[in-house]
């Protein structure tokens, strides 16, 4: 994982590393779409194509001992946190080598060693535990932060309200990252939220809020550093409203009948975080292709790894119910 050199600024080398990570996530998820269509992947899958800068910007800022909880759209977060693509892909194939040993699946990626407290298939379901993890850090006097990813749609559920309210009341070191892609499945923000400025949500708790443009990985990184710093220093939790774009369907296979015609094409044209970073870096075509080949090979290898993985025995299902 990239190390922070100076707060609020990232070296060119790191930015290149970010590009590589974002492209890896992109290619990984495109592969997921492809393998799903090929009928190889069971379960419900949600890719975050278009949202890679959020995953990379946020996760690169996390300290080694920090923890986070994710959502149904978790591949990017998990990869950006450093879980090997082989183990993520193996999970999607339901193999024992998967990061959840095949028990979880795409919506339940865990990597406890790396502070991944788990992706959640219940919208908002992971938020209270982030407050609680942060409470544990505070009680034990540890300089760690717990961070939550969630979507704009998740801000409508009571769990969100209770988790953030408690976090602020107790001034725990937590950061709440709203990946605001303006859609909850097929439901546009206008149909699911009575406000237009997402950061207004934080006002109900008097919580520090940061709004950031999420297609720019540098901005996300800088904002996350500020948020982590605030939380870590004992000043309480932070709400991050991250404007981002889902450049694909809600789930893999989604025909997106609900999307206004042309929206997707236009967004792909204007809101691709990888294009943006590439321009920022002034990356030559061959340089990009080199990186692309590299990450594509990693992704291909992850599929090979996953397919060659071990299927659980049926009776393995009886394990891990109780400690």
């Amino acid at each position: 994982m990239a190390k922070v050199e100076r707060e609020g600024s990232v070296s060119e080398g790191e930015l290149r590393e970010f590009l590589r990570e974002m492209l890896l996530i992109r290619r990984f998820e495109e592969k997921v779409e492809e393998r799903f269509r090929a009928g190889e992947l069971p379960g419900f899958l949600h890719v975050a194509i278009g949202q890679e800068a959020v995953a990379v910007g946020v996760c690169s800022a996390l300290g080694e001992d920090d923890v986070f909880a994710s959502t149904h759209r978790a591949h990017g977060h998990t990869l950006a946190r450093g879980t090997h693509p082989n183990h993520v892909m193996a999970e999607l194939y339901g193999k024992l080598e998967g990061c959840s040993r095949g028990y979880g699946g795409s919506m339940h990626l865990y990597d406890v060693e790396r502070g991944n407290m788990g992706a959640n298939a219940v919208v908002g379901g992971g938020l209270p535990a982030v407050t609680g993890a942060a409470l544990a850090f505070k009680l034990r006097g540890e300089a760690r932060v717990a961070l939550a990813f969630f979507g704009d749609g998740a801000t409508n559920i009571g769990t969100f309200h209770e988790a953030l309210n408690l976090a602020q009341l107790w001034r725990v070191p937590a950061v709440f990252v709203c990946e605001n892609n303006a859609w909850a499945e097929s439901t546009p923000a206008s149909q699911h939220m009575p406000i237009t400025d997402m950061s207004d949500r934080a006002l109900a708790f008097g919580m520090e809020a940061i709004s950031v443009y999420g297609q720019d990985v540098e901005e996300v990184r800088a904002a996350t550093e500020r948020a982590l710093q605030h939380a870590r220093s004992g000043e309480g939790p932070v709400f991050m409203d991250v404007e981002t774009y889902r450049l694909t369907g809600h789930y893999v296979g989604d025909p997106q009948v609900y999307r206004p015609k042309g929206e997707l094409d236009e967004l792909r044209e204007t809101q691709d975080p990888i294009d943006r970073l590439r321009e920022r870096l002034g990356l030559a075509d061959e340089e990009l292709e080199r990186i692309d080949r590299e990450v594509t090979e990693i992704v291909e290898e992850s599929v090979r790894f996953a397919k060659a993985g071990t299927d659980p025995a049926p009776e393995d299902a009886l394990k891990n119910v109780y400690a």
Binding site: P42, E91, G102, H108, T187, P314, E315
Partner: protein, 330 residues
Amino acid sequence: MPELSYREAVRDALSRAMRADEDVFVMGEDIAEMGGSMGVTQGMLAEFGADRVRNTPISEMGIVGAGIGAAMQGMRPVVEIMYEDFLTLSLEQIVNQAAKHRYMSGGQLKVPITIRTQGGAGWSPGAQHAQQLEAWLVHVPGLKVVFASTPADVRGLLWSSIYDDNPVIFFEHRTLYGLKEEVPDELEPIPLGQARVHREGTDVTVVATGRLVHESLAAAQEAETHGLSVEVVDPRTLQPLDERALVESVQKTNRCVVAHEAVTRMGFGAEVAAVVQYAAFDWLDAPIERVGARFTPIPFAPVMEEFVVPHANDVLAAILRTVGKDVDGG
């Protein structure tokens, strides 16, 4: 007679009720433009408009509660909870509010809400999208609970649920949506509280719900090759429960298997077993067998998922045990 899928049958009941009656409306997450996560309400937005096919935010507690409030004011809302795992989020409203307002008010009110939901394993949806939780609701006085297993049943029962003056929790099983059946042109309401005998038999009674009705029918077929005549009964309404139908069947066959996809422990089968052993004690020639999911969350990997939830062979094995046979010949 038109052929309808289980999915279309649900839609048909909803649409007919909405055509017949301004007080009926549906609401839920992604039910409008997208037509619901299982496609059940597809096309209904165009016919009924956004007020009556109401797309909602992710607020399971809020939308159930809003349905309750509208029902208390005389509407007949049908609220969809996308996955029954999310009933956990609205249970306060269902159990403490919908089920009790009438009682706590001494009969002044009624709460004619229907809450549709679906669940089940089968496509590796994982531990939080595959539970079968109907047993919880059966434990709550004031609620009615329906679990339909065929297109004709789902249509007739949903209609009756909508027009029932009590809160009804209406369970659908995900893997049944594609199941097709010929149904009459006219919708025939099916009274709540009536079991259906799917198949008559004389040796063993299988009481089954949801997906397990079909697994049980397959098992019954297979049991014939063992020379056994198996009766398959689907209670359809779990509350009120048609106890008499179950008991009479067992009094005829003297043997009973209960089968559902939910976890066996504290599952609906426990209640059936308790009722049947009580009422048919002197008739029983063998212990009542329970078939249900193993006591684990639903795992992701298909091979484990398959192992955890019951299938026809599990029902068959239970049938054979009641007559003292082992599956592997015995």
